[in-house]
């Protein structure tokens, strides 16, 4: 039995998909490969899940891609601020580069399946933000223990307030923070939308997650069973990503009907300059290699040229 954990609560529709997939794998492999799922963070946050994969208590986890940087730092190329402009670009680049990232992670000892889109994160604020100058007034939430998010947000001249995700709602209510950056569906699900008034129409960064298995555990599966596992899991997590995209589209529509004003950013060039500078800083601090960023940007440019 392979034990996998996630912080996602049970009962979400993607969990049902995962459970169905797991059942399918068990049947197809004659119970040789069985998965046991621990949802709702009962095994701890992503960091704790990774620690437990190291010691062998757990064999895998559905985690945010950002938590896997120690195995392959360059998986953050997709998270770079304001580089992707729309989902078409995402789809094209991911077709080109997902395999490179998966290979990088495999070298680091982590086996992954199809990456799952969480979506573009937008900025939700209590005062309208259109220009880079408006950002100076923001006290924005960042996940605690996330130095990269802190670094990113600082290059935008925003005061980062690290909080546990469970404290964000209270933080918005009390004015401890006045801005969050999140995909629309997440902002709705966690009730954050009740405490912000504006959304800036700018896809700040792309967020994704993945089912990660430790290669020690994955190697125990026979080659023919691997084909089955890989086939089912890839399908499940691709579908989950497609569903997330649909959810985000619906959430974006809903947002304008529930009293949140969508404001258009002005002076896009200035935004881009600041974002590019923050990428430089990430490269400079060694968080990500210049080669990977270059490859990513070249791919992006090629695609845009072909349009």
């Amino acid at each position: 039995t392979y034990k996998i954990a996630t912080i996602s609560p049970d009962g979400l529709s993607w969990m049902q998909k995962l459970r169905a997939g797991v059942k399918q794998i068990a049947i197809a492999t004659d119970d040789r490969v069985k998965f046991k799922i621990y949802p709702g963070g009962v095994q701890g946050d992503d960091e704790t899940v990774l620690r437990k994969m190291r010691i062998g208590q757990l064999h895998g986890g559905a985690v945010a891609a950002g938590s896997l940087t120690r195995f392959y730092p360059d998986l953050q190329i997709y998270n770079l601020p304001l580089q992707f402009r729309d989902y078409d670009e995402v789809d094209h680049i991911r077709m080109e580069m997902d395999a490179i990232i998966a290979d990088g992670l495999r070298d680091g000892g982590i086996e992954t399946f199809a990456f799952t889109e969480t979506g573009f994160a937008y900025m939700f604020t209590q005062e309208p933000v259109t220009s880079v100058a408006d950002l100076g007034e923001l006290k924005a939430w960042i996940p605690d223990n996330d130095p990269i998010a802190a670094e990113l947000i600082k290059s935008f001249n925003v005061s980062p307030i690290p909080l546990n995700i469970t404290d964000v709602l209270a933080g918005l209510q009390t004015g401890l923070i006045n801005a969050v950056v999140a995909p629309p569906s997440v902002a709705l699900a966690l009730q954050w939308h009740n405490h912000v008034k504006y959304m800036t129409d700018l896809p700040l960064l792309y967020i994704y997650s993945t089912l990660a298995m430790s290669d020690k555990a994955y190697k125990r599966i026979s080659d023919e069973d691997k084909v089955i596992v890989k086939g089912v899991m890839d399908r499940v997590f691709t579908e989950v990503g497609q569903e997330a995209r649909a959810d985000n589209a619906k959430a974006l529509e809903a947002i304008s009907t529930i009293g949140i004003d969508i404001v258009q950013p002005t002076n896009l060039e200035e935004w881009q300059t600041v974002a590019d500078r923050s990428v430089e800083r990430l490269i400079g601090s060694g968080e990500i290699t210049p080669e990977a960023v270059q490859l990513y940007l070249d791919n992006l440019e090629q695609y845009r040229a072909g349009q």
Binding site: R54, I55, R70, N145, A150, P162, L163
Partner: protein
């Protein structure tokens, strides 16, 4: 020997008191910075939480020294001393084994984090923050061991 021990105990007490003082100072400073200057230390939150862990381990170490741990203890008042004495010794020995095992595996855990070079906050690596775990469990094991040989020792004050 006793004066060395006393120095160690005073040092231990001192670190424990210092942990609370830093906790209080840091928390207040953070409130002031946030409310009046719209700023604050990014690492303060992580630092405060690690202080909580240190208070836990240091406080428990001192509690072990003073036999001041919470316990259920239904039988010590009922059992005759002739029976209770050996049982108590066995329980002490058991505690030495349990804390010793915890210390052993804590070393392994800290070693993993050392190899992974994970960072807790600012430039402080996680393994430094965790180092109180093996130290704390080892010290407690040692203190239970000493308790076995100390005739005046009791579980509960």
């Amino acid at each position: 020997m006793t004066s060395l021990l006393r120095t160690i105990h005073r040092f231990e007490d001192g670190v424990l008191v210092l942990a609370l003082v830093s906790m209080l100072t840091m928390a207040l400073l953070q409130i002031v910075l946030r409310n009046f200057f719209d700023s604050g230390f990014l690492w303060a939150e992580s630092f405060l939480r690690i202080l909580v862990l240190w208070v836990a381990m240091l406080g428990a170490m001192v509690a072990t020294r003073e036999r001041n741990h919470i316990s259920i203890d239904l039988l010590s008042r009922i059992l005759p001393p002739r029976l209770y004495g050996p049982l108590r010794h066995f329980a002490m020995l058991f505690s030495v084994a349990v804390c010793g095992t915890a210390a052993w595996y804590s070393v392994e855990y800290v070693t993993y984090e050392y190899q992974d070079e994970t960072i807790a906050f600012a430039d402080v690596p996680v393994w430094v923050c965790q180092s109180i775990l093996p130290v704390g469990f080892a010290v407690m094991a040692l203190r239970f061991l000493i308790g076995i040989f100390d005739r005046r020792d009791v579980w509960v004050r």
